[in-house]
């Protein structure tokens, strides 16, 4: 039976006449508002004491798994340790207090950090120029494809509106293409995990705007014929887009720019260890090769030499007339960018290469041990990158135990579940990414738990269908959630 850890809604702590009164500023006689514009009934917000609010949200936080409390091998999400120093530095009062439209005089410290961040990201990706403004991976994707489209339009190449994506791509890739007014052409993937080159050859042509690729791919393997892919797409007049979801795998080892990519988005909340925050904020900086530099989204941070030294300022549409424009109210998730900057400065040149190395070491170790424990690899003949895929199709067929059952049971063992059912083309799959910050002992403990679950699947498979048993709730009724919509407290 599950332990019953329940926490009422904040509204249940509410009583008329109560409040966190230490937060109430003095009553002021404000100028009168026109009667027609006034609110008549106050909003139904909680009226709770400060302690009640603090205790409630502290208790809610305790219902979460997180990196700080649990191993979180969620494939494609790079759940590595988020160093506390990054947060402390970003929360220095001068940084939290800086208004986004502050004068250049009160901005040189911040802008210097941002300019150096641009340059460091250029260096690790092999790109020529970087814009920091996109606020998440999908937002960076949008910027990237919008630049590809703008590039073709600027050349009068108006019919190039096809974006090629491999079948196994993240769902954001086709969604982004649509948002940019493009159409998607899917190509298949070979049994060994590499892109089907013959289909690519058939797909490229005068309509090709570009191709969106992740490398290592979403299948957890390195696209070995990447140079041929680049040549085919470039010869057809298209550009190459690098989805940076899996940059952690190759950080310091291979650079997307050297592989032939023209544009890349980086998930700073993955590779550069800014917090995932329970679903954001992210940061999706974009880097570009020479052809796309004029189209980068503004603002960018520029530098000029002056008598007193370097002077930093924001570059806008006036400096970059061909820019795809502004994608955020100000300049993106600046506080997240500061955290990524601190992380990169702490790791430095050598630390950066170690990321790719140890992420790959941990992944291949876990891959080897889990196969030995009896799990089936989706691509057994391939090297794992920073992540790998197991398929439970045999277990599902023979014992009726699905990837979802194994994922839920892992929660009982104190491990966050891997990514399940992605990529869609591998049946009953678990996508596992340990990251470089986990110790061998943690990985060994995970193998022990997985082995135990495999034993349970053989001995009492029906019991696994009911997992988890020790969480605050059992499995939830998703059908009811969608059918009888209860989205707000009344």
């Amino acid at each position: 039976m599950s332990t019953s850890i329940r926490e009422p809604l904040i509204f249940d702590y509410s009583r008329t006449g109560r409040g966190a009164t230490a937060q109430w500023v003095a009553e002021e006689a404000a100028p009168a508002l026109p009667a027609a514009l006034r609110r008549v009934t106050p909003p139904a917000l909680p009226a709770a004491s400060e302690l009640a609010v603090v205790r409630h949200y502290t208790r809610l936080s305790q219902l979460n798994f997180s990196i700080d409390t649990h191993f979180y091998p969620l494939g494609s999400c790079t759940m590595k340790y988020n160093p506390k120093a990054c947060n402390s530095a970003a929360l220095l009062p001068e940084f939290t207090g800086r208004h986004p439209l502050a004068s250049e005089k009160h901005s040189q410290g911040f802008l210097r950090c941002m300019h150096e961040l641009q340059e460091m990201l250029q260096e690790v990706t092999g790109m020529q120029s970087v814009s920091l403004s996109p606020m998440a991976g999908a937002h960076g994707e949008f910027a990237g494809v919008a630049m590809i489209r703008a590039y073709h339009l600027a050349r009068g190449d108006v019919d190039r509106n096809e974006i090629i994506v491999p079948q196994a791509a993240h769902g954001t890739n086709p969604a982004t293409a649509t948002m940019c007014g493009c159409v998607v052409r899917e190509i298949s993937v070979n049994a060994d995990g590499d892109v089907n080159i013959d289909e690519l050859r058939a797909a490229v042509g005068p309509r090709t705007a570009g191709i969106m690729l992740t490398n290592p791919s979403t299948l957890g393997v390195f696209e070995r014929r990447i140079e041929e892919v680049a040549r085919l797409v470039h010869e057809a007049g298209g550009l190459l887009y690098y989805d940076g979801a899996n940059l952690n795998a190759i950080l310091g080892k291979v650079r997307p720019g050297d592989m032939g990519f023209d544009v890349i988005h980086m998930n700073l909340h993955k590779t550069f260890s800014t917090p995932h925050g329970g679903g954001g904020p992210g940061a999706g900086a974009v880097g570009v090769g020479p052809r796309l530099v004029p189209f980068l989204p503004v603002p960018l941070v520029g530098v000029e030499k002056r008598a007193g030294g370097e002077h930093f300022r924001l570059l806008t549409e006036a400096d970059r007339p061909q820019s795809i424009g502004r994608l955020t109210g100000f300049m993106g998730n600046a506080g997240v960018l500061l955290r990524a900057y601190v992380y990169m400065r702490m790791l430095g040149r050598e630390g950066m290469s170690r990321v790719g190395e140890y992420a790959t070491l941990n992944s291949n170790y876990l891959f080897a041990r889990l196969q030995k424990a009896g799990f089936e690899a989706a691509y057994p003949e391939r090297r794992a990158s920073h992540e790998f895929i197991l398929t439970l199709k045999r277990l599902a067929a023979e014992r009726g135990v699905t990837a979802m059952d194994v994922a839920k049971r892992l929660l009982d063992y104190g491990f966050h579940a891997p990514t399940t059912y992605f990529p869609l083309l591998v049946p009953e799959c678990l996508l596992i990414e340990p990251t470089e910050t986990e110790s061998k002992e943690t990985l060994d403990a995970f193998v022990t738990a997985m082995s135990e679950i495999l034993r349970e699947a053989a001995e009492k498979p029906e019991q696994l269908k009911g997992a988890p048993f020790t969480m605050p709730v059992r499995r939830l009724d998703d059908v009811r959630a969608a059918r009888e919509l209860d989205l707000v407290h009344r």
Partner: protein, 457 residues
């Protein structure tokens, strides 16, 4: 090795288990000619003490000027409890709550957030947040086109009194999908979007109109008249609102006869520090009948196997990981942690605390406008009622004045010259509850000195 726990013995045992001679051998599927050279452009690593010393020095360089800029980001007081809880690892270092059983804390917080934002805006349903106020407006425009199927024009009317950065983001984010954003003039005397300015579209198909309240000038719009005009001709109403102001102002759900259809805004005033423009969070609320056209994550309350209440992501069939090229948006990661900050702030403030903040903002900004317009060469641009911002007209170019103020530790406002050249030298100023009467007096006396010195020079 920073943040990597491996000992040499660990590495040897792990390589033996893999059957690889070295870590380098694990990269043997990568063509050798592609292997990167050492990253010469990255400086050597720093330990935590060194990096904190560096960051403190950078921070000191920027200082803590006295700030009178608003223009979309507002300097409100944030209770200590907000960030003490936001930065707890269980919120800070968790991921999107896909595994509902292990994420009930985040999921319930989102449900409570949705409830509070719906209450504040007077609307029926909310999503779990978008990136910021600007992108939320662009998403609302796209949503309006999907929702208003009777309208074929994809024409969205956007008053010039809407935040110009928001207008720019709409153009760069949504025009690829065929949306046409058309400007609506403001009345030069009142600073409001007049009903008469809409006459040009009286006989045209319009998909939606955006109404920003208070508008970018800080002026209050006649939201009822604009809303009813739009609904009478079959257009949807997108409200872009400041959440603090909603403690005092009529919520979008009650605008006009039928209420606005979609409400969006930037949640920054609710517990998010200025932080150079982000991270903030965008909010979006709408009518229940339009919920399936809404972008972003949505959390619903349901029951578990044993019939006990619990929370889960719902209506995922709208989203990119299922619908791919036909999704409502490509958004996945949103601004979860800032949503937590907004929820905590709103829960602590309650309706009484928030309305006190809103009234203090109005009182302080009124005081500011009176103090500054008492100076020779400074006058108010518009006659319309205001919330906590105002446009001032100067008798000389704004940029050098702002620079002189900055030299003396004051960020004096936002220069409107680039976006509204027709106003002449115009400055948008703001005072929140955090600016004291002394702060305002200091701004006024410093500005007097600067204007006088220039006059006598």
């Amino acid at each position: 090795m920073p943040f990597i726990p491996h000992t040499e013995a660990d590495v040897s045992e792990m390589l033996a288990a893999i059957g690889a001679p070295s870590i380098d051998a694990l990269f043997d599927e990568i063509p050798a000619n592609l292997r990167a050279a050492p990253l010469a452009g990255i400086p050597p690593g720093l330990n935590e003490m060194q990096v904190m010393q560096l960051m403190r020095a950078r921070a000191r360089q920027d200082g803590l000027p006295l700030c009178f800029i608003g223009a979309g980001a507002y300097d409100h007081f944030i209770p200590s409890a907000v960030w003490a809880i936001v930065t707890r690892g269980e919120f800070y270092s968790a991921y999107t709550p896909y595994q509902a059983e292990a994420s009930q804390g985040t999921l319930q917080t989102i449900y409570e957030y949705q409830s509070m934002i719906a209450a504040l805006t007077g609307m029926e349903v909310s999503n779990a947040s978008l990136y910021d106020g600007a992108t939320a407006l662009a998403e609302a425009a796209l949503m309006a086109v999907r929702t208003n199927r009777k309208s074929k024009s994809a024409r969205i009317l956007v008053p010039r009194a809407v935040n110009p950065h928001y207008r720019a983001v709409c153009a760069s984010s949504a025009s690829q999908q065929g949306l046409k954003f058309e400007d609506v003039a403001y009345d030069p005397a009142s600073g409001q979007t007049a009903r008469s300015a809409l006459a040009a579209w009286d006989n045209e198909d319009v998909t939606a109109i955006v109404i920003q309240q208070p508008n970018f000038f800080g002026t209050l719009e006649d939201v009822d008249a604009l809303t009813d005009w739009a609904h009478a001709k079959g257009a949807l109403v997108i409200a872009s609102v400041n959440p603090t102001s909603l403690a005092l102002l009529k919520p979008p759900g009650q605008w006009g006869t039928k209420g606005a259809d979609i409400a969006v805004g930037d949640g920054q005033p609710l517990g998010c520090p200025l932080s150079s423009g982000g991270p903030y969070f965008g909010f979006m609320t709408t009518r229940m009948e339009y919920v399936r056209q809404m972008p972003g994550r949505i959390v619903g309350r349901t029951v578990d196997l044993e019939g006990r209440p619990g929370f889960a992501l719902t209506l995922q069939a709208r989203e990119q990981h299922i619908r791919r090229g036909k999704a409502t948006s490509n958004i996945c990661t949103n601004q979860g942690l800032l949503m937590v900050a907004g929820t905590l702030y709103t829960a602590l403030m309650g309706s009484e605390g928030l309305s006190r903040v809103a009234r203090a903002c109005m009182a302080r900004s009124d005081e500011l406008v009176k103090a500054l317009t008492a100076l020779p060469g400074v006058r108010a641009a518009f006659s319309g009622a205001r919330f906590h911002e105002a446009v001032l007209l100067l008798d000389r170019p704004v940029a050098p004045v702002l620079q002189a103020l900055a030299e003396r530790g004051i960020e004096g406002g936002f220069d409107l010259g680039k976006h509204y050249p027709e106003l002449g030298p115009a400055l948008l100023v703001c005072a929140t509850e955090t600016r004291s009467t002394d702060d305002i007096a200091l701004y006024a006396s410093t500005l007097r000195d600067i204007l006088q010195t220039a006059r006598t020079a």
